[in-house]
């Protein structure tokens, strides 16, 4: 189950996955175990020992703090362990004494009480691993020695007689605040046991030949091992002997500050050694051991780092695969620009160590990690890969936002719509033309004397309708076309009711049922013999469009009513409604040609023997007429628009005396107004066309005159 989301690409991955399945980025952080397992064999000895000694501190770096903060027991260095062990051997504290705060140098207390010894203490009798494996370091050249060391060496060569044992003059270990070397510089000694003699005391003879010359000069000869009970405190003895040596070698001004401070503290706090007993020299780690190529990390021996990195370096194990950034993330990654921060690296490179065993070296890591507290984070310029299309879109968006005219666009449209003078003038002309016949009570346009063939065929089919089979009236027009289609339909339905054929109405549109009821209701006023369920069967709404029509062609009753049986209907007619072939004719009232086309395609193809008559709008006539005038006509009759309605009304009843329609219907009162409106429309179109030609001619003449 994908419940771990990749931090690089954001895609989900299984919980147990080590790397992302999509971008191969590492999902779990590299731990010390994985490091040792992956690259432990190839790591150098000092790194292996450091790994054994303890895991990395949070953040990947070891704390090099030079604050007065007392280091913990695990962070104590081996030299401190040896000092403690020696002090314990020399003068154990009385039982029950409260241990003072731990001091790395053992200051402020007479002896080190029995306390937990660091885990890296070497057991007794064991040689430290590094003492055997560390190669001898090359003698350091005199030019690289600090000034005080040169002077000390020169004075000792003059004052010390041959064969005399020099006192130890190497500065004692200092507190971390005084430039204590970090613990990684000390070789960890896991095998050192508490109470064991100092390791360097046993390793000094074997390693003395490998020590540099300047160190041999200043390093004391290890004295004979004193009895453990008579041994003074190691720290006190070390500082006392050192003080004696420094007094003779340097004046007070020449003594470094850190050495003077340490000396003063040792003098005031430590108890003096018992008289008559030689002071045991403090064993300090030899510098060649600290500076051995195998001990020091490579980055320190190679040179100062450019920047004090606080981030753990990525592990370069062979078994691990390097994470690959996806292209989109690589494009968003900030790259180093011209204002990249270089101050920190420059400062670290310029730093010269002024105290401690690394005094004089340049570029040494500072004892205190300079956490940038209170500083602003560096500003890394982001140079994104911007495509030209993106830049164009951004520019367009900025232009749109910054353009004030963009807000005024809707207002401009409203102004344009608020002055429809042309449309208003046309409307007034048309309405005026329509009102003229009604207001003047005059008949300008003659009724159609010649009836179209399709209208005549429709009348002939209606005249031949049988009375025992229903006529299907499909009311499939919208209410907006009711003025035109009702005029034509009323004429046809009036004719059908005059004949007396039963009528069944159906509609594939929801409003069709209501329009059919209105149509029958208007016609029934002249033909009250039509009763619902007897000779009038409102089938209602037929859903599903062409699918419903296909089902209707198979079984009209089942398609409309399903299993429902309307009560009170004539059984004979009801049985006739179970097959579309029982219809005497189908009259389709359609305002759109597609509706009629659907009726022809779905119903007429199923019952080709049933004639279909189309009563359509004038707007649909051009697309419907091919179904009527083709060599294989699908329509057997047509009544088109108001003209067809007026012609059919005249067919129903013609006044022999006047030659006009004897029983005018709905279409007749509209005929004159229709004629006037058509005439006005033609005039408007002609005037508009002439005006357009004149305007175009004037513009062309104006252009020609300009040219």
């Amino acid at each position: 189950m994908p419940d771990v989301r990749c931090p690089m690409c954001g895609k989900p991955n299984p919980d147990e996955a080590e790397t992302c399945q999509f971008c191969q980025a590492r999902l779990k952080p590299v731990s010390a175990d994985s490091e040792s397992a992956a690259g432990g064999e190839s790591a150098p000895d000092w790194l292996s020992r450091l790994r054994v000694q303890g895991g990395p501190t949070p953040g990947g770096t070891r704390e090099l703090s030079g604050d007065s903060e007392i280091p913990s027991e695990e962070e104590a260095s081996d030299w401190l362990a040896r000092i403690r062990s020696k002090a314990t051997d020399d003068g154990p504290a009385p039982a029950g004494d409260t241990a003072p705060p731990e001091d790395p140098l053992g200051r402020g207390r007479a002896a080190e009480p029995a306390k937990p010894v660091p885990a890296f203490a070497q057991p007794a009798g064991d040689e430290p691993a590094h003492a055997e494996s560390t190669p001898g370091t090359e003698p350091t050249s005199g030019e690289e020695d600090p000034e005080w060391l040169k002077r000390l060496r020169a004075r000792r060569s003059v004052e010390t007689p041959a064969g005399a044992t020099p006192a130890p003059s190497f500065p004692a270990p200092q507190t971390p605040s005084k430039g204590l070397p970090p613990d990684w510089m000390h070789t960890p000694r896991e095998e050192t046991a508490p109470g064991s003699p100092p390791v360097l005391a046993a390793a000094a003879p074997s390693g003395e030949s490998a020590a540099p010359s300047w160190l041999r000069d200043v390093q004391p000869t290890p004295p004979a091992a004193p009895p453990p009970a008579a041994a003074p405190p190691a720290s006190a003895a070390a500082f006392a002997s050192e003080d004696e040596e420094l007094r003779g070698a340097y004046s007070e001004k020449e003594i470094p500050d850190w050495l003077a401070t340490a000396r003063d503290e040792a003098t005031t706090v430590e108890q003096p050694a018992p008289a008559g007993e030689p002071a045991a020299p403090i064993e300090t780690p030899p510098l060649e051991e600290l500076l051995a190529p195998g001990v020091l990390p490579e980055w320190l021996t190679a040179g100062p780092p450019s920047t004090p990195s606080t981030v753990e370096a990525p592990f370069q194990g062979e078994g691990l695969e390097e994470a690959v950034l996806p292209p989109w993330l690589r494009a968003m990654r900030p790259v180093e620009g011209p204002i990249a921060v270089k101050g920190a690296a420059t400062e670290a490179e310029e730093r010269v160590e002024s105290a401690g065993p690394l005094a004089g070296l340049r570029g040494v890591l500072p004892p205190k990690v300079e956490v940038e507290v209170g500083r602003h984070p560096p500003v890394l310029p982001s140079l994104l890969e911007i495509q030209p299309t993106h830049a164009a879109h951004a520019e367009l968006l900025q232009r749109i936002v910054s353009t004030p005219e963009s807000r005024a666009v809707p207002r401009a449209r409203r102004r344009a719509q608020s002055r429809p003078w042309g449309g208003l003038a046309v409307s007034l002309i048309l309405v005026a033309a329509m009102l003229v016949p009604w207001l003047t009570q005059t008949s300008v346009f003659a009724r159609p004397s010649v009836v179209a063939v399709e209208t005549l065929q429709t009348a002939n089919i209606v005249n031949a309708l049988p009375l025992d089979r229903p006529l299907l009236l499909a009311v499939d027009y919208e209410a907006a076309a009711s003025a035109e289609l009702e005029a034509a339909a009323l004429a046809v339905v009036d004719h059908v009711m005059t004949v007396g054929a039963p009528i069944a109405t159906v509609s594939t549109r929801p409003v069709g049922a209501a329009l059919a009821g209105r149509l029958i209701a208007r016609t029934r006023s002249a033909h009250p013999q039509y009763v619902s369920g007897v000779n009038y069967f409102p089938l209602g709404y037929l859903p599903a469009g062409p699918i419903g029509l296909r089902a209707f062609a198979a079984d009209p009753w089942l398609a409309v009513f399903g299993q429902v049986q309307p009560a009170g209907w004539e059984p004979a007619m009801t049985s006739a409604l179970h097959a579309s072939s029982n219809f005497s004719a189908i009259i389709v009232l359609a305002s759109e040609p597609t509706v009629l086309q659907t009726w022809i395609e779905q119903v007429h193809t199923a019952v080709p023997d049933v004639p279909i008559i189309a009563v359509v709008s004038a707007a649909a006539e051009p697309l419907v007429r091919p179904y009527y005038e083709s060599a294989f006509p699908s329509l057997q009759g047509m009544v088109v628009g108001l003209a067809g309605a007026e012609a059919y009304e005249c067919l129903n009843a013609t006044d022999p005396s006047t030659g006009r329609c004897g029983r005018p219907g709905v279409a007749d009162p509209m005929w004159d107004a229709f004629g006037m409106a058509v005439l006005a429309s033609v005039l408007i179109i002609l005037v508009g066309g002439v005006a357009s030609l004149v305007r175009r001619g004037l513009s062309s003449m104006r252009k020609a005159s300009h040219e």
């Binding site: 009102l435 779905q602 649909a620």
Partner: protein, 227 residues
């Protein structure tokens, strides 16, 4: 009273709709919104009264009808179709929607082939000879019929040529139709213009009829109100 209220409401709505000639205004918007709302409510009522209740839910009252699969299948499909109203359950409506679309496509294609395409293609396969033979074996000369058939042929071929948009690229010149297609397409363009003119005339006649009906209604109402 109801006739007066109906007439008054019809008068107000007619005036509101015709006020669009002055531009978009509040009256037109009110009438349009009222029309849309009433239409939607009427459609819902018709769907329930004419379809859902008599053919589905009304039958569920009859316990014997529960054994009929014709009741279960539509009911399940209706419930699945309701799932399309929510995005999380919209996938449920895919099955009934696919059923409807596939069935409608099959029905429409089958009907179009037998009801429109084949008859219309057959209608253009006419004889161009003016000599005809009557059913009684009498031979007569029908020049008008022959001319009509020629026009039908020319109109069909040239109109189809107009919709031939293939063009070959030429070096240094814009792509153009083949030389033999261009004049045919030009003639076909004339036939299309005539057809569109007829459509426009029909649309104008239908619109004028609707306007006449509304103006007559207003005249009738105003005539009743005036002394």
């Amino acid at each position: 009273m109801s006739d007066v209220a109906t007439a008054a409401l019809g008068f107000f709505l007619t005036v509101a709709i015709l006020s669009y000639v002055l531009g978009d205004n509040v009256l037109f918007r009110v009438a349009a919104h009222l029309l849309i709302g009433v239409t939607a409510g009427y459609l819902a009522a018709v769907a329930w009264q004419s379809v859902l209740w008599p053919q589905l839910f009304g039958r569920m009252l009859n316990l014997g009808a529960w054994l009929d699969a014709a009741l279960w299948i539509p009911l399940i499909m209706v419930l699945m179709m309701i799932g399309r109203s929510t995005p999380r359950l919209s996938v449920l409506g895919s099955l009934p929607m696919a059923f409807l679309v596939g069935l409608a496509a099959a029905v429409a294609v089958g009907g179009a082939l037998t009801g429109t395409l084949i008859p219309q293609v057959a209608a253009t396969a006419v004889s161009l000879s003016p000599v005809r033979q009557a059913s009684g074996g009498m031979v007569f000369f029908d020049l008008e019929g022959a001319l009509s058939n020629i026009i039908i042929l020319i109109g069909t071929v040239t109109t189809l040529a107009y919709f031939h948009f293939g063009a070959r690229p030429r070096a240094g010149q814009a792509p153009a139709r083949p030389a033999w297609v261009a004049p045919l397409a030009r003639v076909g363009e004339i036939f299309l213009a005539v057809a569109f003119g007829a459509l426009y005339a029909g649309a104008l006649a239908a619109s004028l009829t609707a306007l006449i009906d509304r103006v007559a209604f207003l005249q009738q109402i105003i005539g009743r109100l005036l002394p």
